[in-house]
C-alpha cells in the first residue's frame, strides 16, 4: 500500500467534479471555488512531505521510470551484455545523445507492469548487470564520452545466483571503474536509491537528485526490521535515515536537487523528465573540457571529504559542508 496513492484517491472525486464543471463553464464562481479548494487540499496533502511520504513518492507506480528518461533522449542505442555470462535487463546501458551531446548512459530499469517487472527483476541488478556497466564505463572512458546514470533500484539483487557469481566483486569493480574514468560523470537519483546497488553507478562528479527521490544506506523496512524487529515501523526508520534530497544536499552527497511539481513528478512526467535532462545537460556543460586528470582529482577530493567525525578534543574535525 502506497500512502501517496491512497491519498490521491481522496482527490479523485473532487477532480472529476472539477473536470465536469470546466466542461460546462470556464469562469463560474463554483468552479473557481472548487479550484481553490482542490489546490488547497493538494497543498495540504503534498506541500510538506515526510521522509516516509517521499519514500512512497519515489515508489509511486506512475512515477517516471528510467525507460521514460531513455525515451526522452535525442537518441539511445542499447549495448548489451557483460561479454561473459548474460545480458541483465535490470540495467540498461548504451550510447545516447542528450541535448545533442554524445554520452554513455546507464540506467536501472524497473518495469512499468508486472510482466516487465519480472523480466527486469524489479530493477534489482545482478552481477552481470554491474559487469556490463563496468564494461561500458571503460568504453566511455576510452572513447571520451561523458557517463550519465539514472538510479532507480531498491538495491542490488540479493538472490542465490547473484551471490554465487560474486555480487560484491561486481559492485566493487563498478566503483573502481568510475574512479578510473577519465570523463565527466553525472549521476541522477530519479526514484529509489537503494544502498550499494545504487552507488555502484552513482559515484560521480555531479549528483543530481529528484526532489522526492530517496537515497538510503538501507531500506526503511530493512532498517526497522533490524532495529526493532518490526518492518511496520519503516516510517520511523525513514525519518531517522535522512534519505531525502534536502538531507543529502546538506551532507554534500547530493550536489543539485530538481524540484518536482506539487504532488510529485508523475503529475507531469514528461515535463519533469525534460527538467531533469536539462539539469544533466547543465552539469555536463560545466564539466566540459576538463581533463581526465582534473576530473579524477576533483572526484577524489569530493568523496574524500564526505563524512563527519570528531577529533580527541571532542570537536568536529571535518565539518559538514
Amino acid at each position: 500500500m502506497n500512502v501517496i496513492v491512497e491519498r490521491e484517491k481522496s482527490l479523485v472525486e473532487l477532480e472529476a467534479r472539477l473536470a465536469q464543471l470546466r466542461e460546462r463553464d470556464t469562469a463560474s464562481g463554483e468552479l473557481r471555488a472548487l479550484e481553490t479548494k482542490v489546490e488547497e487540499l493538494r497543498r495540504d496533502m503534498f506541500g510538506r512531505l515526510s521522509a516516509w511520504e517521499r519514500v512512497n513518492m519515489a515508489r509511486h507506480p506512475k512515477r517516471p521510470l528510467a525507460s521514460d528518461y531513455l525515451a526522452a533522449l535525442d537518441a539511445f542505442d542499447e549495448l548489451h551484455g557483460d561479454r561473459h555470462f548474460r545480458d541483465d535487463p535490470a540495467l540498461a546501458g548504451g550510447f545516447a545523445k542528450l541535448r545533442g551531446r554524445r554520452v554513455m548512459v546507464l540506467a536501472q530499469q524497473k518495469g512499468s507492469d508486472t510482466k516487465e517487472n519480472v523480466r527486469r527483476n524489479f530493477g534489482m541488478v545482478s552481477p552481470e548487470g554491474y559487469r556490463k556497466a563496468k564494461r561500458l564505463m571503460e568504453l566511455a572512458s576510452r572513447l571520451r564520452l561523458p557517463i550519465v546514470s539514472f538510479v532507480d533500484t531498491s538495491g542490488a539483487d540479493p538472490g542465490i545466483g547473484s551471490e554465487e557469481r560474486a555480487q560484491s566483486e561486481a559492485i566493487a569493480s563498478c566503483l573502481l571503474a568510475l574512479t578510473r574514468a577519465e570523463v565527466p560523470i553525472v549521476a541522477t537519483i530519479v526514484g529509489e536509491g537503494g544502498s550499494g546497488g545504487a552507488l555502484a553507478i552513482a559515484l560521480a562528479d555531479h549528483v543530481i537528485m529528484a526532489e522526492n527521490a530517496v537515497y538510503s544506506v538501507a531500506s526503511p523496512e530493512g532498517c526497522a526490521a533490524i532495529l526493532w524487529g518490526d518492518a511496520a515501523r519503516a516510517p520511523e526508520a525513514a525519518e531517522r535515515l535522512r534519505l531525502t534530497s534536502a538531507d543529502l544536499n546538506t551532507f554534500g552527497i547530493v550536489d543539485e536537487i530538481v524540484a518536482e511539481p506539487l504532488g510529485g513528478a508523475h503529475r507531469n512526467g514528461p515535463a519533469f523528465v525534460q527538467k531533469m535532462l536539462d539539469a544533466v545537460d547543465g552539469a555536463l556543460s560545466r564539466l566540459d573540457g576538463l581533463s581526465g586528470e582534473t576530473l579524477r582529482e576533483a572526484r577524489y577530493m569530493k568523496y574524500r571529504r564526505i563524512g563527519a567525525w570528531r577529533d580527541e578534543t571532542g570537536e568536529r574535525a571535518v565539518a559538514l559542508p
Binding site: S168, I171, T179, Y300
Partner: protein
C-alpha cells in the same frame, strides 16, 4: 634513526581482555569447555576441533607483527551527524562498544613489520558495532592507504563487517566511494594490496575494498557475501545450504585466491609479500629501520 613523528603513537604488544572475560569458553562447534587462556594462546582457535573464534583486532595484530605496531588514526573518532536514536542514542551505543571492546572504532590501522617487511596494516573488529563502516572506518582506511602509498609500502587489511553503519546513514554508504578511490590511487605505485576476509565480511565493506585487492585471502570457514544470509532466505523463502557464502564455497566459485587456516595466516602473508614486493627497493638501512619510521 630519526625520531618517530609526533603524530605516530607507539603501542607495544597491547593485549586486550574484554571486561566480561570468564575463565572458560564453550566451543560452539565441538561443545568442548575450553580454558580461555589456552584458546587465547592458540590464536582463538579451538584446541580440540580447530574452530575459529572471532578475534580481537589487537590479538590479531599481536599474532601477526614482528614487534612494534605503530598505530595511526586514533584521533579520528565517530561523530553523530544524524543525531541518531533508536533504542538508545548512537553516542551511547558507541560508548558501550568502546567499553566492551577497548577499541576506539571498528578498525585499527597502523604500521608494522612482518618478518622484516614493513607494511601498512588495517584490522577490522566485529566487536565494535558489528564491524560496520561509518565515517571513521572509511576515513581510517583511506588514510592508511594514502600513507602506505606515500611511503611505498604494501597494504594488508583484515575485514570483518556487517556492512555500512546504519546510524550514520548515507554518510556511511559514501565510505565505499572514499575507500575505493584510495585503493585505486594506492594501486598506481605497484605495491600489492592484500585483503584477508574474516568472519563475517558482508555488505558495503565486501562490495568495496574487500574485493578490490590484488590478493584476496579468506580465513577458513568465514562467512562472506554481499547480502546477509537472512535477507537472502527471506527473498527466496527457503533455507540456504550450510556451506553457502563460506570461504570454501567462494573458493570453488572463483571469488577468492585462497582459504587459509588462522595458524597459517602469518606465514602465508609473509610468502605473499616475498613474492609481490621488490626487496631491491628496500635499502640495507631500511631493512634494519622500518621505512615507515623514516617518514
Amino acid at each position: 634513526m630519526p625520531p618517530i613523528p609526533e603524530w605516530l603513537r607507539l603501542r607495544r604488544d597491547k593485549s586486550v581482555q574484554p571486561e566480561d572475560a570468564s575463565l572458560w569458553q564453550k566451543c560452539p562447534r565441538c561443545n568442548e569447555m575450553l580454558y580461555r587462556k589456552d584458546v587465547a594462546a592458540n590464536q582463538w582457535v579451538c584446541t580440540r576441533c580447530g574452530y575459529h573464534f572471532r578475534m580481537h583486532a589487537y590479538d590479531r595484530i599481536n599474532a601477526l607483527v614482528d614487534g612494534d605496531f605503530v598505530e595511526i588514526g586514533t584521533e579520528i573518532l565517530p561523530g553523530d551527524p544524524l543525531a541518531w536514536t533508536d533504542k538508545r542514542p548512537y553516542p551511547a551505543k558507541l560508548e558501550a562498544d568502546r567499553e566492551k571492546s577497548k577499541l576506539t572504532e571498528a578498525v585499527v590501522t597502523g604500521f608494522a613489520t612482518l618478518d622484516g617487511f614493513p607494511v601498512a596494516l588495517g584490522v577490522m573488529d566485529f566487536n565494535f558495532r558489528g564491524g560496520t563502516m561509518g565515517t571513521v572506518v572509511g576515513e581510517r582506511i583511506a588514510n592508511l592507504l594514502e600513507e602506505a602509498r606515500r611511503r611505498r609500502l604494501p597494504c594488508i587489511i583484515f575485514t570483518a563487517s556487517g556492512g555500512a553503519r546504519m546510524e550514520e546513514g548515507m554518510l556511511a554508504l559514501m565510505q565505499m566511494a572514499k575507500t575505493t578511490q584510495a585503493v585505486e590511487r594506492f594501486m598506481e605505485n605497484g605495491n600489492p594490496f592484500i585483503t584477508v576476509l574474516t568472519d563475517p565480511t558482508t555488505g558495503g565493506v565486501s562490495a568495496s575494498f574487500a574485493f578490490q585487492a590484488d590478493i584476496i585471502i579468506a580465513e577458513a570457514k568465514a562467512a562472506i557475501g554481499f547480502a546477509g544470509r537472512r535477507v537472502i532466505e527471506q527473498t527466496i523463502r527457503q533455507k540456504l545450504p550450510e556451506n553457502f557464502q563460506t570461504a570454501e564455497f567462494l573458493l570453488e566459485k572463483g571469488h577468492i585466491d585462497m582459504v587459509v587456516e588462522r595458524h597459517d595466516l602469518r606465514a602465508t602473508l609473509v610468502r605473499m609479500l616475498d613474492y609481490a614486493v621488490d626487496r631491491r627497493r628496500l635499502t640495507p638501512a631500511l631493512k634494519a629501520v622500518p621505512e615507515f619510521a623514516l617518514q
